[in-house]
């Protein structure tokens, strides 16, 4: 009897040893161990990088405009006082290290960079067409360079990560020098210059990044560093060799639905809604339109200043496409725009999407492409670089190209059936510039940039690289006797603070910018 028991017990013990396995599969989970193995994985990861520019409710474009315009003489925060107080801090140069908008910028751009790193690290080892994989890698490099450019120009030297890292490694990464970051940007963009030209992409792939984008970002990088020689070289390449772009005949066309990703568009964020319940569109237009017009759901942020308005010639037809005013009425609307809550009476035209364009899709996220870089910007950069390099007569050619298109622009917006103010265009409107004095011409080109690219988010970048941010802002404060600009501290305000949370979480491996 006992023996039988004992053998049962032994048997039972034995069985359980055999059946005990501690390796459990992870059902339904794609892990980093089995992804990034083939071309389609890399394509999906690259898409994962692009989409960081528009994650739902957290769009980079919104931050781009808040930082790029609202902290300058071009735009006010707008909306009601308490709403988005962090933008008020930016506007008034009283930015705390915990500022939410600053943190958002940092986070979005680093998400973009890290997702690019995933692609760059794995593309060449994946199975598939090597040419296409190289292109994917270069697109990721171009995007990564855009990310670092946006960071280094606003924060100074930042942690430089170029390959995927483990959480523990991140804790040990300090801020790199600004020089090293720029070096990385230049190297990435030089690689990305091998990308296809805009017209080499099929319609199905038209929003992939191009050599034109890479070269434009490279030119912007040189310009920001005051390296006009190299800038000129790259810009000549774009304008005189590649011929990938052309200005649209009318300035106003740039913001029309029919001219999405036009010949003038160098970098454009495609936002489309195809299913109301899937938030793939953009919310930025709602932020930047008037609060009082039914059907527009505006919050009234990003309000053009009177100073910007005054910068335009009274007959400049571009005013029609920069400002909306009370009384402007879009075709199809019953009610006109009502800007009575705007401090200046203006709202941002370029982000006002007429309700007819949203028909059937009037939801929080709407279809509207955000034009981030236009060819006009490239031409004006080229003119500026040429002038700096003592080639004023050549510079005039490109400056006047932009002015010519402007004066040929229809002062009456065809999308409106009622317009409060129509600039009167005459033969004297926006004449060709003939000045060849370097200093005088520089001022003229700077002014042209301001009005041509008004409210498009590049103002802060221009003022910074032109090294007159403080000067301009203090003058603005004095002229209008306002808080905005009065606080400007030259030692501090060229850079935003490193988000305090980042310094805390890094256990002080990261350091703060001066005077924050």
């Amino acid at each position: 009897m006992k023996k039988i028991f004992l053998s049962i017990v032994t048997l039972a013990f034995g069985f359980s040893f055999i059946s005990c396995d501690l390796d459990e599969p992870s059902y339904g989970k794609t892990t980093s161990n089995n992804f990034y193995k083939k071309q389609s994985d890399i394509a999906e990861a690259l898409t994962g990088a692009y989409l960081q520019l528009r994650t739902t409710w957290n769009e980079y474009a919104l931050n781009f405009y808040f930082v790029g315009d609202c902290s300058t003489d071009d735009a006010l925060k707008g909306s009601s006082d308490g709403d988005r107080a962090e933008v008020m801090e930016l506007q008034n140069f009283m930015v705390y290290t915990t500022n939410g908008e600053v943190g958002r910028r940092w986070e979005i751009l680093y998400r973009l960079i890290n997702r690019c790193n995933d692609v760059i690290a794995h593309a060449m080892d994946a199975q598939g067409d090597k040419d296409i994989l190289t292109r994917y890698m270069n697109e990721a490099k171009a995007l990564r360079a855009f990310g670092y450019y946006s960071l280094v120009t606003t924060f100074g030297g930042v942690p430089l990560i170029t390959s995927p890292m483990q959480p523990e490694e991140i804790l040990r990464v300090p801020r790199a020098s600004a020089d090293d970051v720029y070096k990385q940007i230049v190297s990435d963009l030089n690689d990305a210059a091998a990308l296809p030209a805009k017209d080499k992409y099929s319609t199905e792939e038209q929003y992939h990044l191009t050599r034109g984008f890479a070269k434009t970002m490279l030119a912007k990088t040189y310009m920001f560093r005051g390296d006009f020689q190299n800038a000129e070289k790259v810009l000549r390449d774009i304008v005189e060799t590649d011929h990938d772009y052309a200005l649209l005949p009318d300035y106003g066309m740039n913001w029309r639905k029919e001219y999405e990703n036009s010949s003038e568009s160098v970098f454009e964020l495609p936002n489309k809604v195809y299913d109301k319940s899937i938030a793939t569109g953009t919310n930025v237009p709602h932020f930047f339109t008037s609060r009082d017009v039914p059907g527009y759901q505006g919050y009234g942020f990003h309000v053009p200043t009177t100073d910007l308005f005054n910068a335009f010639d009274k007959d400049d037809p571009r005013q029609t496409y920069v400002f909306t005013r009370t009384g402007d009425r879009y075709v199809g609307d019953k009610q006109a725009q009502d800007n009575h809550q705007s401090a200046t009476g203006f709202h941002d035209y370029k982000m006002t999407v007429p309700s007819v364009d949203k028909a059937g899709f009037d939801v929080w996220m709407i279809s509207y492409n955000i034009r981030l870089i236009r060819y006009a910007d490239v031409l004006l950069l080229y003119a500026e670089a040429l002038n700096e390099n003592g080639k004023a007569p050549e510079a005039l050619k490109y400056l006047n190209q932009v002015r010519q298109r402007a004066r040929n622009t229809n002062p009456m917006d065809p999308r409106k059936d009622q317009q409060a103010y129509v600039p009167v265009v005459t033969a004297r409107t926006l004449p060709d510039i003939t000045v060849t004095n370097k200093d005088e011409l520089r001022e003229i080109i700077w002014h042209e940039r301001r009005v041509e690219l008004a409210m498009e988010g590049w103002r802060r970048d221009d003022l910074m690289r032109q090294r007159r941010f403080g000067e301009v802002m203090k003058a603005y404060a004095a002229k209008y006797n306002v808080q905005k600009g009065r606080n400007f501290n030259d030692k501090r305000d060229y850079l935003l603070p490193i988000p305090q949370g980042e310094i805390d979480k890094s256990n002080n491996v990261l350091t703060q910018n001066p005077e924050y």
């Binding site: 005990c20 992870s26 394509a43 898409t47 994962g48 705390y96 680093y110 929003y207 938030a279 949370g501």
Partner: protein
Amino acid sequence: MKRQLILLLIALAFSIATFAQSEKVITGSVSDRTTGEPLIGATVTESGTSNGTITDADGHYRLKIKSNQINVSYVGYTTMTLKTLKDGNYDVRLESDNALNEVVVVGYGTQRKSDLTGALSSIGERDIKNYATSNVSNLLAGKAAGVFVGTSSGQPGSDAVVRVRGLGTVNDNNPLYVVDGQFMDNMSSVNPADIERMEVLKDASACAIYGSRGSNGVILITTKGGLKGQTVVNLDASIGFRSSYKALNMMNSDEYYDFITTAYGSDPTFDKTRFTNQYKKGYNTDWWDEVTRNAFNQNYNLSVRTGNANSRTTVSVGYVDEQGAIIETGFKRLSARLSQEYDINKYITIGGIVNLAKMKKKDSGALPSFEFIQKADPFTPVINPLVDPSSENYEYNKWAPTEWSFDPNPVSVLKLIDRHNGLFNVFGHAFVKINFTQALSYRVQFSFERNQDTFKSFRPIYSAVFSDDMLGNRESKYNTQTELTNNSATVSNHLVEQRLNYNKNFDKHHLDAMVAMTYEKNMSEGINAFKRVALGNDEVYRILSAQTTGDQTSGDKVVTSMLSYLGRINYSYDDRYLATVSFRADGSSRFAKDNRWGYFPSLSLGWRLSNEKFFRQSSLAKLFDNMKLRVGWGQNGNQRIDATAPLTLIGTNNEMQWYFGNGYAQGYVPTYQGNADIKWETSQQTNIGLDVTLFHNALDMSLDFYVKQTKDMLLNMPIPSFGAFPNSPFFNAGDLKNTGFEFVMNYRNHVGDFNYHAGVNLSTYKTKVTKLTSDYLTGSVSRTYEGGPIGRFYGYKQLGIFQNQSEIDSYVDKEGNKIQPNAHPGDFKFAKLGEKGVLNDDDDRTFIGDPNPDVIYGFNLGFEYKGFDFNVAFQGTIGNDIYNVAKGTLAVVGYQNALADAYNKAWRVEGDRAVYPRITTSNDNNNYRVSSFMVEDGSYLRLQNLQVGYTLPSKLMASFKYISSCRVYVSAQNLFTITGYSGLDPDLGVSNPLNMGYDSTRYPSSRTIMFGVNLQF
């Protein structure tokens, strides 16, 4: 009724008849001499014969005898002989031969209480009997030192938050529940009426046998088994009411009208005309009243316990229907249980238990936040007078939309959204036990648990008819298409346990050894589906197939497994020197291969001084019945991390798309960042304890002091966001030290028939983070730093209210700069802690409160007298702070109602001794930033439970043939609370230790009063 009368008559006739036969009928009860506790199963025999009986579950007996003497005996008690000359009642009190012979359940075995060397609290059947509750954790409240039961929510059927010895980690602090040897996470399917006893293992030497899961303490639950040689049928029925015991005092419509119009003044964005029209409609809705109710509760339990020489059986069924204090919420459970044991021969016993529970739970999750109730404006009626009752879909459209508040009418949300969980749980085990010899036995047990949970949430189509005065947000107040979420989840757990026990006395040596191995597999699988747009709202359309668009489905499956080897040796010498050594090795699939195994040893020693010769010979022996010193040390682990913690996952969702020119392409990104290097979190605990028993076992006292050090706490550590990880990955990122002290004292005695008892338990603990790899950990308003306790509130110090402009102007730093330049008279003044500059987040925040209590205490009192019984149990804390979120979020001016105090106690003119700031829409001074203003003392004392019962005299019962005992009772929970705290409830039960003491408005804990009857047949 007629039938009962007949029965009564027959019974009477029968008793008369027996009298006529010159036999005596004696009745009475048998109880413990010191404690007065009835002894169940005591043997009463007529001296010199085999005629006898045993006492029933209330200790009563009834016996017919012919002679004049009976013997009363019971295991562990001295047998008594009694003269019984005539019929009547003979109550017997037996003297225990040793009160310490009580056997308690320890992990993987039992032990005599006197042999224990670890820290353990025992809660016997008596402590939990007739507790009219549906929830097991309620039984623990206020009963054991070092065990704190917090109410996580007043939602019927929700689990309480139980903490053993405070906090041991910033991670999961929930104890392990073991029901009849089976690990369980969800206690809602266990019927409290089925529980015989509960043991709480507190120190590491007791818990180490549970290895990787024992670090937060272990709660062992033993359910009722069959009885040997008798049949007891028990029916318990109770009905009663549940209601919310406190409401936040919001503004009425007059106050609110004045509040808003004052605040907005002539603000051009404020439409005063329409607002005034809303007010003039004359409604004054108290939304709390509309949303709460006196809810009907009922609870029935029937059990049969029986057995004979070779088998024991229990069958029980229970039904509980608890309606919540919030309308539409409730919990129903129908449970059944069968327990069987057979002795096949003298070597082999087999047996098993099956528990079934079918539950239906309706929670208040339709409200995205509880503040919806408070935020609804008083101008809106519940039912919309603008909707014609004869119109189509009136039942759905009749609710009045709030016309000022941003959030919708809370009654409509609760009524319209049909949301419930249906659960069906089966669990139990089967075992074989083989006794090879008297000393050596083998047991194999297979335990299983399968929980099926179906969740359904249906949002119907409903419209809202707004008046011309509508000012609020429209979008959330109507719904144009049906939406249905239908999820189903299955959890299936298996556990195989084999163990060998060896138990032997050699002379004065006693050895009790155990080795075991266990293997368990836990599987959970779920399917989630969402679809919308059905033809209508009817019941027939509340099915996925009736919905036409927007298919969204997902499914998951997670499997984890664990293999363990364990062993323990208890050794005692001469009942004086005691030692326990235990060891457990756990291998878990949750960790990567190299870090899979954790080893958890323990050692504890005990010394029974009272059994030493010198002690017995000294005068101490007269006072002390027992004195024992215990010292223990052990290690435990914590593996409560995601099963995927070591892996990095890649995924996508329907918004992760990018348009390249021809439709959208799906993007894939890391969705979960893993850490392959993580290993077990281990805690090491040293415990010193002293047990004494005095005054002939009347007074019991225990003292325990412990130090618990947790190493490699598994934390979701925040990584700088430039690493762009989708989550904070798990790290072994910190160490914690917890020092504590516990005291428990129980006194039982009697004066004649009057039995009384009183008990007190106190505990205190201090946590200190001794290592942290990041600078600090953040909770909603807390920060935890190295060197400090867990979870202190962090924010500004509010100093008072600026009375006039000159106070603001003169509030300057060293350099004369104004500290709060944007403030106006009536705004809050905050302390400037930094050197200079405007008040700011970087320099001027500090610790403003500590949610850790100084003392956690409980006490209970009770007595029994001539059939009456009375028991109360109190629980409370002293010295903890609460962050009352409502004081800020429900005080602001906006599209929401606000606390009446924000109006009545607001600052208006210079000199006002106000509590709240000026009434304004301006946020320039950010008055409601995180500050000491919201921090309040959270000390409280709560009458957790009160029971009053009356057991009908056995003489009377003797006349009913089928009913042997009858007790009627009233049981009340949460009857009153003494506290200075102004929020809904100081008893918070927050499960995340970093958010301890953070009171965001939640389902209010409620008061229940139940009336019941307990019958025994």
